[in-house]
């Protein structure tokens, strides 16, 4: 449809999934002109897997995206039909917001965001090639219809479209997800770049017709009465709230699956990609955990008006008749109709160790990769990478250095460092246990950690920054106020805490740290505090709880930061550094660490190697200075 040459974009983004949309919006927030290329306009904002956003680790990522003024959190809030804060009764650092989302509402909210964004052009078409200059710099993309889109930087967010194969039993078909064509030509072009490629697999469950399910005898799970939203800008749900149902597999289900294992693509040896350990197919579960006679299934509604149910927990690559048989053995699903069969998909991914911390392909200026193509799984992981890739792509055309997201400051930093330093062996998903500074990286303080950084980078709007600054000041003022309140043991006991009668007098702030401190009682006791102050006091309580525990972490973080400040010159020849074993040289060359801290985290690196590397950095700096 476009036969003219577009030369007037700063950034072109291929793919309008979660990584692509987040990237496009972020680049536009920084004030540049962006083209977002997608097969079909209707693909924008599609949730191709389960209808949920957030969770443990993942919810933290969404909060961080929101703190950087990204769109995923705002869109998810608008589409949410059930809010649940996971681990609500555990420590604040491991509480993860999660929502069930209405697919249609999600897509509508995402489309509205994209369409209302100034300087953002959505272009329908199939990208078949990358445009390159003689020196290898990527300068845009070519479409199937011959049109060319020229841009300062290109971000590929093409998901599982690289050589993907779908499996239902022994039936195979080429394609990224149901109904989407695979970009074979583009895939070949990317494979030609000489990047290391790996193969992964993932699966989906069959989708069921809601009115064919008997919910009457099933356990219900309601959302939180007091919902926690993703966006720091939102305080209450937009859509009506619903409950979900839970059912279980049983011995009969397992018999059907066991009797048909050889007909599964996974077990028939037809798939060679590595699947995620944390999201096994039902075939996997039955084989690997043979002693369990039942597995949990969440029946997630796809939306308020949708007639589809996503049975979370039974992804499969068994043939159609077996899927139907085992589904019907399950309580409540005796008469369930399958609307869309479950399938497994295997696909190529690019080894992310070939990327810089700005997600640029090393040695290929102008080309950034984000999302599933880098070996990750999940909407949230994809969106966060889209944001990082966009910020750094924009900075690259401005001639500025990449922004470093530190492991000690954000889950985004943990993910980028894990991907670029350690690579992936299975689809990479965020867990809170991946963050060694977990107590400091909380969902509730994502704004404090990242909004100032986002503002400095230019991806945070003035309104967001103003709101953040006001909240920041209000928190500081509230802390001072609480610290000025003295609560003797007698009062503390009256407030319901379990302190001894001769316990020391505590300030209001210190009292927040007590095991059974009730924020509402503190508010009621301190004159001039009202229920409106509740969220501020709760936030301070989270800080107070961990204050003494993170001392050791802060020390470590300081050391990590000192080593992060030591950047390794890009042209440093690792092979010319004395005292490094050939093995270490090849490891350094493969990962191309950007800082001393990153080098030290590479598997197998010895303290001696770090010192030798440090000496080489210092030598190089001295030479550069003279």
């Amino acid at each position: 449809m476009f036969h003219v040459k577009h030369r007037d974009f700063d950034i072109v983004i291929v793919g309008a999934g979660h990584a692509g949309t987040e990237a496009a919006h972020a680049a536009c927030r920084m004030g540049v002109k962006v083209a977002l290329v997608t097969f079909r306009h209707g693909d924008i904002g599609v949730m191709s897997c389960n209808p949920a956003i957030g969770g443990l680790g993942k919810g933290h990522l969404v909060r961080e995206i929101d703190a950087l003024d990204g769109i995923m959190g705002r869109v998810a809030d608008k589409a949410a039909i059930q809010f649940r804060l996971l681990n609500r009764r555990k420590g604040p650092a491991v509480r993860g917001p999660r929502v069930q989302a209405d697919r249609a509402l999600y897509q509508a909210a995402m489309l509205a965001e994209i369409e209302s964004t100034p300087n953002l052009s959505v272009i329908e078409g199939e990208v078949v090639d990358l445009l390159a200059e003689a020196d290898g710099r990527i300068t845009g993309v070519a479409l199937a219809d011959g049109a060319e889109i020229r841009a300062g930087a290109t971000i590929l967010t093409s998901g599982t479209f690289l050589r993907s194969l779908m499996h239902i039993g022994s039936e195979k078909s080429v394609g990224g997800r149901m109904g989407a064509a695979a970009s074979i030509k583009l895939a070949d072009r990317i494979l030609d770049l000489g990047l290391r490629i790996g193969r992964l697999k993932t699966g989906t469950p069959p989708r069921l017709k809601a009115n064919s399910i008997d919910f009457s005898g099933l356990e219900r799970q309601a959302g939180d009465a007091d919902p926690t939203l993703f966006s720091f800008l939102h305080d209450k749900p937009f859509a009506p709230q619903i409950s979900c149902s839970i059912t279980h597999t049983n011995a009969a289900t397992h018999d059907v699956i066991r009797n048909n294992l050889e007909r599964s693509a996974m077990y028939g040896g037809m798939i060679d990609g590595t699947g995620p350990r944390y999201c096994p197919s039902i075939e996997d579960k039955v084989v690997r955990f043979a002693e369990k006679d039942s597995h949990q299934i969440f029946l997630e509604p796809e939306g308020l008006t949708s007639d589809l149910i996503y049975p979370n927990g039974i992804s499969t690559s068994l043939p159609a008749d077996v899927q139907q048989d085992y589904v019907n053995t399950i309580k409540g699903l005796e008469k369930a109709e399958i609307v869309q069969l479950g399938y497994a998909i295997e696909y190529d991914y690019v080894d992310p160790r070939g990327l810089t911390s700005g997600l640029q392909v090393r040695g290929v200026p102008g080309l950034h990769l984000a999302g599933q193509i880098n070996g990750t799984t999940g909407y949230e992981e994809a969106a966060a990478q889209g944001l990082v890739a966009a910020v750094n792509a924009v900075r690259s055309i401005w001639g500025e250095d990449a922004v470093h997201f530190s492991r000690s400051e954000s889950y985004i930093g943990v993910m980028i460092d894990d991907l670029t330093t350690r690579g992936v062996t299975e689809p990479y998903r965020m867990f809170t246990s991946r963050a060694e500074y977990r107590l400091m990286l909380r969902a509730d303080n994502a704004d404090t950690r990242l909004t100032p950084l986002g503002a400095a980078v230019g991806c945070v709007s003035a309104e967001r920054l103003t709101e953040f600054n006001q909240k920041h000041d209000a928190l500081a003022a509230m802390k001072t106020r609480l610290e000025a309140v003295d609560l003797p043991a007698k009062t503390l006991r009256e407030l319901g805490t379990d302190v001894k009668e001769d316990a020391q007098t505590r300030t209001g702030y210190d009292a927040l740290r007590l095991q059974d401190c009730d924020v509402d009682k503190i508010i009621a006791f301190v004159p001039s505090l009202t229920a409106d102050h509740r969220s501020l006091v709760e936030r301070l309580q989270c800080d107070a709880i961990y204050e003494f525990y993170i001392e050791r972490q802060i020390r470590e973080v300081d050391m990590v930061r000192a080593n992060e400040a030591l950047t390794i010159p890009r042209d440093l020849q690792f092979s010319s550094i004395g005292g490094l074993s050939a093995e270490l040289v090849s490891k350094f060359e493969a990962v191309q660490p950007e800082t001393l801290a990153q080098a030290a985290r590479i598997e197998g690196v010895t303290p001696a190697a770090v010192v030798n590397l440090l000496a080489a950095i210092k030598r190089d700096k001295r030479r550069a200075a003279s």
Binding site: L56, P276, K285, Q296, F431, Y549, P607, A615
Partner: protein, 428 residues
């Protein structure tokens, strides 16, 4: 701000003077915590060092080098101590427990000197090699020690800790899935096992402590089996009374001797027999109790048929026939003509040396400090297991693993996740 660190700068062992170096912004605070006043920069002061309870550690010469004019470029305090193993140990332990400074990593002083520009690059060239040698030496030492029983023990700590962390992490990261809500029972069992093993390692198997206090070897056997005679022959002294009246030795006679350079206390115990004599019966009971506590037991007998062990036999224990000059048995020893005595001494020496090698793993003060830190973390976990949130429990378990890192290696998040995924069926 970097941590303040300390380490013994001179070689381990007996020497005229031992120097402990402390580097970092809080070096002077460390000195003050020992009850000493700071000397002027580049000056020295002779002063008493005391531990936290005010007990005197040593009368030491202290030196102070101010920031920018020291080896590392940071504030540096040197403690010139009397070169006794006990004094050095006590001082290092006091510093480690003080909480202001921590034990330096291998090569850390030099590394700081480099970071702060106190060394020029030509001096740095060889530094990597030095550190490599140091860590390689440690690795080899560990490998040697870890060849057998110790490797198994360490492997068990590692597995148990990884599992305890994995259980805790599973309740955090997979709270919404088919994971048991309450794992505290198994975590408690695993942590208790590990902390007890570490405690045991620290209290009974400290190689350095053993070298100082020595080993006890108990001679046991029926009356007149020749225990006292053997003791005298071995010690070439008249420390034990030797008579031919059965039941003469009623209390325990101790003699110290040196075997293969190891301090060994030989215990001559009362002959073991049923008796109506009240005093002798107490002697027999004591003999059995003491022999049980000893590091090694040698059961002596005179007749053709070896007796049954009166108490539990341990792997290193020996059974030896005496009075070979009378019986003509070639395997028997004789205190009278000296046959087999040197061989017996050699065997005792060999078996005890093995134990030193085996416990050498934590013979360094650094390892002991690491073990004590881990022990304290694990004790905190146990004390708070019932009411702490799992994020705090996981934090302390990981801290414990970090402390043990030098011995059991770092515990990687992938190993923890492996354990989670192999234990629980997770996945919606």
């Amino acid at each position: 701000m970097e941590d303040t660190i300390f380490a013994l700068a001179t070689a381990q062992g007996k020497a005229g003077v031992a120097i402990v170096r402390i580097s970092g912004s809080r070096a002077l605070d460390v000195l003050e915590s020992l009850g000493a006043k700071a000397p002027p920069p580049r000056g020295s002061r002779l002063t008493l060092l005391r531990d936290a309870d005010g007990e005197i550690l040593d009368h030491a010469l202290t030196l102070f080098f101010a920031e920018g004019a020291s080896f590392t470029g940071e504030n540096v305090v040197e403690l010139h101590l009397h070169g006794s193993v006990a004094v050095v140990r006590a001082v290092l332990r006091t510093l480690g427990n003080g909480g202001i400074a921590r034990m330096a990593e291998p090569g850390e002083f030099t590394r700081r000197a480099l970071m702060n520009g106190q060394l020029d690059l030509t001096q740095v060239q060889g530094l990597g090699d030095v550190i490599e040698a140091e860590t390689e030496g440690q690795r080899k030492h560990a490998m040697r020690v870890m060849g057998g029983e110790v490797a198994e023990r360490i492997g068990r700590w590692r597995r148990d800790l990884v599992r305890a962390i994995a259980l805790t992490e599973a309740t955090i990261d997979f709270a919404d899935e088919d994971v048991p809500e309450d794992v505290s029972h198994e975590v408690r069992a695993l942590v208790t096992k590990t902390r007890d093993a570490i405690d045991q390692e620290l209290t009974t198997a400290g190689g350095v402590a053993r070298l100082k206090s020595g080993f006890e070897v108990a001679l046991i056997g029926a009356p007149n089996a020749g225990k006292s005679t053997l003791l005298n022959a071995l010690t070439k002294s008249d420390a034990a009374i030797v008579t031919d009246v059965a039941g003469t030795t009623r209390d325990i006679v101790e003699v110290r001797l040196d075997i293969n350079g190891l301090p060994v206390t030989l215990l001559d115990t009362a002959g073991l027999r049923e008796t109506d004599d009240k005093v002798e019966r107490i002697g027999v009971e004591r003999a059995l109790a003491r022999a049980t506590r000893a590091d090694m037991r040698i059961l002596l007998y005179e007749d053709d048929i070896p007796p049954l062990w009166p108490i539990d036999k341990h792997a290193d224990d020996m059974i030896v026939r005496t009075k070979g000059d009378l019986s003509g048995d070639h395997d028997a020893i004789s205190a009278h003509d000296g046959r087999g005595l040197n061989e017996l001494l050699a065997k005792i020496g060999e078996r005890l040396s093995c134990r030193i090698a085996d416990t050498g793993l934590i013979s360094t003060e650094r390892d002991q400090i690491a073990l004590r830190a881990a022990l304290s973390d694990l004790d905190t976990v146990l004390a708070n297991l019932d009411f702490d949130d799992p994020d705090l429990i996981a934090l302390r378990l990981r801290d414990a693993a970090t402390s043990l890192q030098g011995i059991i290696g770092g515990v990687d998040v992938e190993q923890i996740l492996d354990e989670v995924f192999s234990s629980f069926c997770i996945g919606k």
